[in-house]
């Protein structure tokens, strides 16, 4: 439960970093999870490492791909005057391209290396403390989330670049008049977004079966978490991702044990969270008054 919720937090925060730049949710975001997972798995097969050792690579590769996608594709599109609808279509197209690349890569690797590449799960590292062996992932994923949250917080509030980043996100035109390179900051936002999501992907290989398709599996949860958190707020994303992850696991556990519902129906839980939050609090949890303090950025009305 903790692992799943923690990793969803990372993915949701990643989505928020892309949303605050272009103001349109990235439908290709789930594929960064798949890329991160494949980076970890390929390195395990080739070099025999475990996903913890390859976390920096799981951060870098999807991060760079996300940055290239932004600079090479999405930025020119926005500059050419693409509206929300066109951007959504472009995201979907990018998703399809990345997804097919993953499938081609996986199938080729099956033939080249002879290992299973289309669906896999990796074993967690077991740690022994006081004679009790336990799996590292619940602790490690929590540490990763807390670590990233602290780093991001310090980075955004204490460094000059972080302040510039917040300025560029709040008001791009005003920030650029002050000499802030908004484009650079947006590109770095995409890098962070891809990286955070890739890290989640690298770790999730030890918690759930993975394959090229996991982008679609997680994008539904990521969106539910983001909408619940309010899309444009990083702190809301942390909250939303955790709530969706925790309630999916606890909810399906409860439904299975008490009502005999098969576990395949777990996708209904993030979906109902999404529907309820759209109908009750479309601006997300952080728009509620007691949580106003956590709010960063402005929720968008239609037509904006």
């Amino acid at each position: 439960m903790l692992v799943y919720a923690n990793l969803l937090v990372l993915m949701t925060v990643g989505l928020t970093f892309t949303f605050i730049t272009l103001k349109v949710p990235n439908f290709a975001h789930g594929d960064f999870v798949a890329i991160g997972a494949y980076v970890a798995y390929s390195l395990f097969r080739v070099a025999g490492t475990n996903p913890y050792q390859t976390l920096p690579v799981s951060f870098l590769v999807p991060g760079v791909i996300a940055m290239i996608a932004y600079v090479g594709l999405f930025r020119p599109l926005v500059r050419s005057g693409a509206g929300i609808a066109t951007m959504m279509v472009a995201y979907l197209a990018a998703e399809t391209v990345i997804f097919s690349c993953m499938l081609i890569y996986a199938q080729t690797m099956v033939l080249v290396t002879g290992f299973y590449f289309l669906s896999f799960i990796m074993t967690d590292v077991e740690v022994k403390i006081f004679g009790y062996g336990f799996e590292l992932l619940p602790l490690a994923s929590t540490l990763v989330v807390i670590g990233f949250a602290v780093i991001l917080y310090l980075f955004l509030t204490r460094t000059k670049f972080g302040t510039a980043m917040r300025a560029a996100i709040e008001n791009p035109s005003l920030a650029s008049t002050l000499g802030i390179d908004v484009e650079l900051i947006y590109a770095i936002s995409w890098f962070i977004a891809g990286g955070l999501t890739g890290v989640a992907g690298g770790l999730i290989t030890m918690a759930a079966p993975s394959g090229p398709y996991i982008g679609w599996v997680y994008i539904t949860r990521i969106f539910a978490g983001s909408v619940l958190g309010g899309l444009s707020s990083i702190w809301g994303a942390i909250l939303g991702g955790f709530i969706v992850g925790a309630s999916e696991i606890l909810g399906i556990y409860w439904l299975t044990t008490d009502f005999g519902v098969p576990t395949t129906w777990r996708i209904a839980i993030p979906f109902s969270i999404l529907i309820v939050s759209l109908m009750v609090i479309p601006k997300g949890l952080t728009s509620l008054t007691p949580l106003r303090l956590l709010r960063r950025g402005r929720p968008l009305k239609r037509g904006e």
Binding site: V24, P25, F27, L73, P76, L77, S80, A82, G83, I84, A85, T86, M88, V89, A90, L92, A93, A94, T96, V97, S100, C101, L103, I104, Q107, T108, L111, V112, W216, I219, T220, F223, A224, V227, P262, T264, W265, I267, A268, P270, F271, L274, I275, L278, M279, P282, L300, K301, R302, G303, E304
Partner: protein, 357 residues
Amino acid sequence: MVLGIVDPVRFIIDLLAFFAIYSILSVSLNLEYGYCGIPNLGKVLFFAAGAFTVGGLCSRVGAYIFGINVAGLDFTRDNFAIVSQVTSSLSENPVTAMGLFVFMLALGTGIGGFLGFVASYPAIKLREDYLGITLLIAGELWRYVGKYYDPIVGGTLGVSVPSPFSWIGQTSTRDIAVIGVLLAFAGLTWFSVEKLVRAPFGRTLRAVRDHEEASEAFGKNVVRVRMITLIVGSALAALAGTLYAFYVGGVIADDFAEQKTFIAILMVTLGGRSNNIGSMLGSFIYVTTNALIRQYKYYVQVPFDLNYLAVMIFGIVLLIMLLRRPVGILPETPSKTVDFRRILEKMNIRDQKESGS
């Protein structure tokens, strides 16, 4: 064998049939995405709605009509037995067969329209991206329902669909009849959508797409217009789905993955947004390319399935189109209005009549 194609006649029949089905789908998406500006990322949901209706109900209704004893038969496990009995009964009763066919089409279309209302209701008042997220997840959920709840369309095994045209004995005649029906539906869809977008309602759609606030200021109910568009578009997509299920002769839930939405969007964007001929052209290009790849992929030796490469190239083509030529191959044409001289003539005739009387 012609040009490496094993059965050229079947190839052309398949090509025309899928062109007809996909052109209904793309024209329906064009109504939503091209004319009203709603990128329906859950298009597959409505396509699947039609197909699931046929897959789940056609053989059951058929069995009920002909009084076939299905007690003790499991719909999923003994699907083939039920379907073959229904098909043999249908082949003896042409009128009932056609009645069942039309009834299933109407039912599927109705269910599609209703789902269009239900799936878009939570987010219709919000921005397009919220609507897109909701529809996308709804489509994914729908596929899960089909896949893991066996009584609908047999879960992971899928179901067969009885052929309503089995009463036409000769295969070639039957193929021509089926193609005729499919093309007729495609033409009818094209004609009615074309009429709809040339009507005042179509102008409202474009106004909502181009400037929401302005159209709201002129008293147009934007939410209502979007809702109607989505209901009509979804009903048409479901029509395409029912025809698809009947033509393919079977329904399996995993066939209705998000890729179908991508294909629909590709067809519309490639052919030309807000141009129904363009959408049909787009679907023709897609269907032809796909059919050719299917035929020729066994001649190429690669370590992966060539379909993935094709999808990837389609994605890249779509992105290049968005960057370089967002209007598509056939751009939007201005609405045809009545020729000014004809208006003058009419006015003259009326004047003469008035002065004459």
